[in-house]
Amino acid sequence: MQIKPILSALRRHKAGTILIALQIALTLAIVCNALFIVHERLDRVNRPTGMNESNVVAVQNLYVGSPSTYVPLMKTDIQAIRSMPGVEDAYVTNAFPLRRGGWSTSIQTKPDGTKNGVQSALYFGDEHTLATLGVKLIAGRNFSASEVTAFERDQQPVPAQVIVTKALAEKLFPGESALGKTVYYVKGRPSIIIGIVEKLTVPWIDADFIDNVSIMPLFFNSSYQHFVVRAKQGQQDAVYKSIANTLYGVSRMRVLPERYGVRTFDMVRKDAYEADRGMAVLMSVVCGVLLAITAAGIVGLSSFWVGQRRKQIGVRRALGARRSDILSYFMTENFLIALSGVVVGVVLALGMNQWMFTQFEMERLSFTYVLVGVVILLGLGQAAVFAPALRASRVSPVEATRSV
């Protein structure tokens, strides 16, 4: 294939050539970055919590009325839930992963340490917590029933024993085993690490200490509680449907909010990452439509070029060019234009990413995405030009003699 005649022909169609190249460049820049955003968001949406998330139901509960203490109510409720037929285990807490609300504090390794400790989320629970969440204990032991105590609103949550995540343990005691070590949630009040779990994430999705969690054997005496329930295999839906009635059966003096009242963990995850999922869908749609429009534009302009050159094509055919020569002429022409487009596009894509990096705290575009975008657009160009090129190749040599 001779490239020189194509180039000199393109020189006579500067405006159209530049427009297609520009469109391909802009499309590449936007598609690369949009795909990268999709990838980033999907990564977040599918980020593991460390829990075994199937068969888990979460209930938000607010006690109404003003009893002197809520602890007996909590204990009655949790007993009622545990004795439901489809329930394997359950516990009562202040927060769990993806709840998007909870407690956090900074932990010290010395009794009189000042600020700048290690930030950690606090989950209250009991000896049933690990089994209900389905997290893996990798060192030490679980709480025993006798270690679980209650604390009041005017007290600080400082249990004698805690279980922490591996990530938190490594930050507190880098390079050594944290098991059996003493830490301080409040100045001068020690807690001993009795167990380490493999992974559990904080309730917030944007926290920068996402894997730092402490589980405490505590009942928090307050009207606002969450029940986390593990259903038996295949019983999740039954538990999801009947748990509100079970609780109202114990007492009607409570509110389970209409929104976020009773949720399966799938729903919890969906609610937590709603905005991210929406963004990923939007970006995918934008990419799809953009590629379609660019393809349509290439088809339109190429068809026009073919129509404009019918006579020249006829002459070439009359002089001995085969159909495949004409076909490959147009294919090559498009490839050259697309190539110049993607070269500019790669620069644009990187520039755009750099700008978004500063404006929107986006990560650096990985080169794979640029490469994927380049391949997509070159392929798209070839696919789009194929139909007009095929039509060109069918121009009969007789055209050369017409209208002379």
Partner: protein, 434 residues
């Protein structure tokens, strides 16, 4: 002459339907996407109190101890009970309000209705006058009720519909958080967006449905809601919130004119200096007094995703325009012969140019109409999302007009280069080759 151009344009557009449709769709998608995202951004960054937001200010200062102090650390957006009440009692502004959010369980009299939670706000009397809350029935409480910790409440339209089927419920009772409150006012639907006066309960949350005097709410310990930030020995023990070293209340003032603002700023500096001298404050005097819009701007209330979406849809629009320029070029160049004949018969370059631009304008208009449909569809999809922020996204008249103006201008701009190219062709050359 314009009528003639119009006829020629329509005839020409009809001749190549696919190309015309492609141009219109490209413009429509570009403009539709841009208008959708711009409307969302417009709503999210809107003025929650049109007309009076420039006179509402939030005094900011730092009551925290020296621990972790750096000059660059941002000032708190909330105040402690002590400071809030000191500033409230000083009465140095025309109006001032101290408040906190809540979530109160309401127990309806009707035993058939289960208790439910309503978002509440515990505020001082100036709340209503300052934020111009619209009353349907009754009236707000005054300083006397604040003083006497009266068990009164103003309820929102939604709660009134739910409990009293929208009737005038002034004088009746609502039982919230175990306390019987006499209803003295009912609001019309009211939802300032963003929820500027307390961002800790969500930037675009729905408005509170139960308003109770702050003094009453505190004496009855109605459940609080919202952000709380403590230092030193501060703990969020509910019974001792009044003396805790925690910021948990919002304080806003209303001031008219630069002189009043300057005077209040001076008063605020004086107050902080005084507290510093007495040893209650430890950080150097650093105050600020932003108005509503500056405050919202500084708090980065508008989600960055919304801005990102606008930029992306604008980029999308540019690609659609480039696409349209290319297609118009193809379309106009195809008619070089026709243009040659018209030029040879005496049409001036100008009139040919105008005729081609008429064609472009028609494409723009059609693109605008279709784009409006795309935008309406896009907005209705956004409203279906349960996220509170986007539910307010509606196309207003200004945006509607802008859709048409922008799409016609865009199509004209896209037609400019192709039309100019065609006009430059020497008529003799075209006629010769026929």
């Amino acid at each position: 002459m314009f009528g003639y151009y119009l006829e020629l344009a329509l005839r020409s557009l009809r001749r190549s339907r696919a190309l015309t449709a492609l141009m219109i769709i490209a413009i429509a998608l570009g403009i539709g996407a841009s208008m959708t995202t711009l409307t969302v951004l417009h709503v999210l960054s809107g003025d929650p109190l049109p007309g009076s937001s420039g006179s509402i200010f939030i005094p900011r200062f730092d009551p925290r101890d020296k621990d972790g102090f750096e000059p660059s650390v941002a000032l708190p957006t909330q105040v402690t009970w002590i400071d809030g009440n000191n500033l409230l009692k000083a009465r140095r502004a025309q109006r001032q309000v101290l408040m906190v959010g809540g979530a109160a369980p309401v127990q309806p009299d009707d035993p058939a209705i289960d208790p439910f939670i309503v978002p509440a706000r515990y505020a001082t009397a100036d709340f209503f006058a300052m934020f111009q809350t619209p009353f349907r029935y009754g009236q707000p409480w005054g300083a006397a009720e604040d003083e006497s910790r009266a068990r009164v409440a103003v309820i929102g339209a939604e709660l009134n519909d739910r409990l009293f089927h929208g009737e005038n419920s002034v004088g009746r009772t609502v039982r919230a958080g175990g306390v019987d409150l006499r209803i003295i006012g009912v609001l019309n639907p009211w939802r300032p967006s963003p929820h500027f006066f307390d961002l800790t309960v969500g930037s675009y949350g729905s408005s509170e449905d139960l308003l109770v005097p702050l003094s009453t709410a505190r004496s009855q310990l109605l459940p609080r809601n919202g952000g709380i930030s403590c230092w030193g020995k501060g703990s969020s023990d509910e019974a001792n919130m009044e003396s805790a070293e925690c910021t948990w209340l919002q304080f806003w003032v209303q001031l008219h004119g630069a002189a009043e603002v300057a005077a209040y700023r001076q008063f605020l500096d004086g107050y902080v200096a005084e507290q510093l001298k007495s040893g209650r404050f430890q950080r150097p005097v650093n105050t600020d007094l932003p108005d509503v819009m500056r405050f919202l701007d500084e708090q980065h209330v508008v989600p960055s995703d919304a801005r990102l979406q606008v930029w992306l849809s604008l980029g999308f629009f540019v690609v659609c325009l480039v696409n349209t320029v290319g297609l118009m070029l193809a379309k106009f160049m195809r008619r070089a012969g026709e243009v040659g004949v018209r030029r040879a018969l005496g049409a001036s370059r100008r009139s040919v140019f105008m005729q081609l631009l008429t064609e472009a304008a028609i494409v723009g208009l059609a693109g605008g109409v279709l784009g409006l449909g795309v935008a309406l569809l896009g907005l209705s999809i956004i409203r279906m999302q349960p996220g509170a922020a986007a539910q307010l996204a509606h196309l207003d008249l200004a945006m509607l007009g802008m859709t048409f103006v922008v799409s016609i201008l865009a199509a004209l701009a896209a037609g400019m280069l192709p039309a100019w190219r065609v006009c430059r062709i020497a008529p003799a050359l075209q006629i010769k080759s026929q």
